[in-house]
């Protein structure tokens, strides 16, 4: 499976007028690619991820995810698209505290029938179990969230992001709360799962020791011209 997962062109975004936060002329990510995205604080990483996920709407330009133009979709359509085709992992606090591990992993499946359909004939229980085994959390499925370590929580979050094989996985500094050993382990599991799903992985991190593990590195400072635009104006 190949093709373009993400295609941005001439994207401009500002929370307030005359104060552009993001100005990206071109960014393209193919399916199966793992991208290490870095940049200092305030370089617009979170904004970019918001646009990629369809939570934020670009002011101009085109945002094409899996050949679909986000800029032509309504907020509700983008919500539905995200539910079906995207996986998202936060830095921390990824889980709904009052649901079990199993319920947390199943949330995207429960929320969207299309995502459920992607599992095919496989039962929900089977799907969760497979995902949990891949990420080494099979023994925790019925544990309450409060009893998990941070590393375990992040792996549950990854399982939730990856269940139902989304085409695009976005991870916003998911390893920053983990120690070095756990970091490597988490990444190995994440990569394996992404490869299996042929998903494009956009991975934001400050930790440059992880860079060699990715197929490509993108520096947001290089591609975001917002700062130069602002100083020019």
């Amino acid at each position: 499976m190949s093709g373009t997962a993400v295609e941005l062109s001439q994207v401009r975004f500002a929370y307030r007028e005359q104060q552009p936060v993001l100005a990206i002329d071109h960014l393209s990510i193919a399916r199966g690619e793992t991208v290490f995205l870095h940049g200092p604080s305030g370089s617009g990483k979170t904004t970019l991820l918001g646009i990629l996920a369809g939570v934020l709407q670009a002011n101009s330009g085109s945002v094409r995810i899996l050949e679909q133009d986000f800029t032509r979709m309504s907020g509700g359509a983008r919500d539905a698209f995200r539910a079906r085709h995207l996986g998202y992992v936060f830095q921390m606090f990824n889980l709904i505290p009052y649901l079990s591990v199993r319920e947390n992993i199943l949330l995207p499946i429960r929320l969207d029938a299309g995502r459920r359909a992607r599992l095919g004939e496989v039962s929900l229980d089977r799907a969760v179990r497979t995902m949990a085994e891949e990420l080494d959390i099979a023994g925790l499925l019925d544990a309450p969230i409060g009893e998990l370590s941070v590393g375990q929580q992040q792996r549950v979050a990854a399982a939730r992001a990856l269940i139902g094989s989304p085409e695009v996985v976005i991870a916003d500094e998911p390893t920053s709360a983990l120690d070095t050993d756990r970091r490597e382990q988490f990444l190995r599991l994440l990569f394996a799962s992404c490869e299996k799903a042929q998903a494009a992985l956009v991975f934001v991190s400050h930790d440059h020791t992880l860079r060699p593990l990715f197929s490509r590195t993108v520096s947001l400072t290089d591609i975001n011209r917002a700062t130069s635009l602002r100083s020019a104006a």
Partner: protein, 424 residues
């Protein structure tokens, strides 16, 4: 089924906040429904002051005056009725019984009523309860007195206590009918009606008392300063046709009461006013019923406070749940999902509050019903919820749902902006 399950899990995970919110709504609902029950109880007990009497007939005058002076012992009757008139109406085919009722004397602030023993047989109150004695017997002789329970309690009277009746309502030495001392022969059981504050003697007793007075110079009732001698109460010519203040009538067929009322109101021999007690009580309630509105307003305020508490609880819990909303947004939950989740939660809180509140009312009634009845004479019936109460509950539920929409919408908007940032 995802959203109901989420809502349930979510509410259960915040058990303390949930129970406090439910408790505050339940308290308001308890107050609202409880007040409604008390209001209905007060109204019923008021309407139950007099039963079994189809018409109260007095001299021509206002209907409320006739009712107040006879049943409630407030004010004085508009005039008097000849005993012969009572006897005449007694023979009317529609009349089953007629009991004379004579006012104008008192004993230490309590009204003295002259009537016949039949009065105690006929008079009913509340749900057809009849007047009974705790001790002694009904007044039969012309020195016999039967006292209500309040009279007995306040004056510490028992069977055998002497009673000196005075003319009018105030104790002024010279106006006492000292020459005709009465003696308590019976004490009535508490009725929680004005009967408890009355003293009953026989018509013969009243007659004898005034006849003896007529022989004592300077004790003429009509000449007393300050004494509230009602017009027509002047019994100077006791030897002439005897007079009473009013008479109570029972009809053979209750449907004839209206016809009989019209007939009596147009009596050619003596100008009369016949009052149907139920109708007059209803009119009176209309006049004093503004207290009811006050009760309702208080109850509505209580509900407003309860709902505000719910709004505050929802809002503050939402602040703690921004993270949760962000997660839902990240996995693709749209406004419908988020709003239905939060609205369902607030709806469930309101519903639970209603159920607990109504349950508390019925539990409270089950325990307090008979103590309240014994203590205050207020019979609070355990009955199914009425239209008003269902209306209140629907209002609380609707308000709970509407209140949920506000933070839900805010949650969606907020998480749209900062939902995906890791720092929320």
């Amino acid at each position: 089924m995802l959203i109901p399950r989420l809502a349930l899990h979510s509410l259960r995970s915040r058990l303390l906040t949930t129970s406090l919110t439910v408790a505050s709504i339940a308290l308001s609902v308890t107050l609202l429904v409880g007040i409604e029950h008390v209001r209905a109880g007060v109204r019923a007990s008021f309407a139950g002051t007099i039963r079994g009497v189809d018409l109260i007939v007095g001299a021509r005058g206002g209907t409320l005056q006739a009712l107040l002076s006879t049943v409630f012992g407030i004010g004085s009757p508009s005039g008097s009725v000849k005993l012969s008139t009572v006897e005449r109406w007694k023979t009317h085919p529609a009349v089953k019984w007629a009991v004379p009722y004579s006012l104008g004397d008192s004993h230490r602030g309590f009204r003295v009523v002259g009537t016949t023993p039949e009065f105690f047989e006929r008079y009913r109150f509340r749900n057809n309860a009849s007047v009974t004695l705790t001790s002694g017997h009904i007044a039969a002789g012309d020195t016999d007195v039967v006292i209500g329970s309040d009279v007995a309690d306040r004056l510490q009277y028992t069977v055998g206590s002497p009673v000196v009746v005075v003319h009018g309502l105030r104790d002024i030495g010279t106006s006492s009918h000292e020459t005709h001392p009465f003696r308590v022969v019976g004490v009535l059981r508490r009725t929680f009606t004005p009967i408890d504050r009355s003293i009953y003697v026989t018509l013969e007793g009243i007659k004898a008392m005034h006849e003896e007075d007529a022989n004592v110079p300077g004790a003429m009732p009509g000449a007393m300063p300050g004494a509230e001698a009602p017009p027509g109460m002047n019994r100077l010519s006791a030897a002439a046709d005897e007079q009473v203040s009013a008479f109570f009538v029972g009809t053979r067929n209750r449907f004839e009461a209206l016809m009989l009322q019209r007939e009596m109101n147009t009596d050619l021999v003596e100008p009369l006013t016949a009052v149907i007690p139920g109708v007059a009580l209803g009119e009176l309630w209309q006049n004093i019923g503004s207290a009811e509105v006050g009760l309702r307003v208080i109850a509505l305020f209580a509900v407003a406070i309860g709902l505000t508490g719910m709004l505050v609880a929802l809002y503050s819990s939402l602040e703690a749940r921004r993270r949760e909303m962000a997660i839902f947004r990240a996995i693709g939950a749209g406004p419908r999902t988020i709003i239905s989740l939060l609205v369902l939660e607030s709806g469930m809180l309101a519903l639970l509050g209603c159920v607990v509140g109504v349950g508390t009312v019925y539990l409270g009634l089950a325990f307090a019903q008979s103590p309240i009845e014994q203590r205050f004479g207020l019979h609070l019936s355990i009955r199914p919820l009425g239209i008003t109460e269902w209306g209140y509950l629907a209002m609380v539920l609707a308000a709970g749902i509407v209140i949920g929409v506000v933070p839900a919408w805010k949650a969606y908007r907020t998480s749209l902006v900062d939902g995906l940032s890791p720092r929320a």
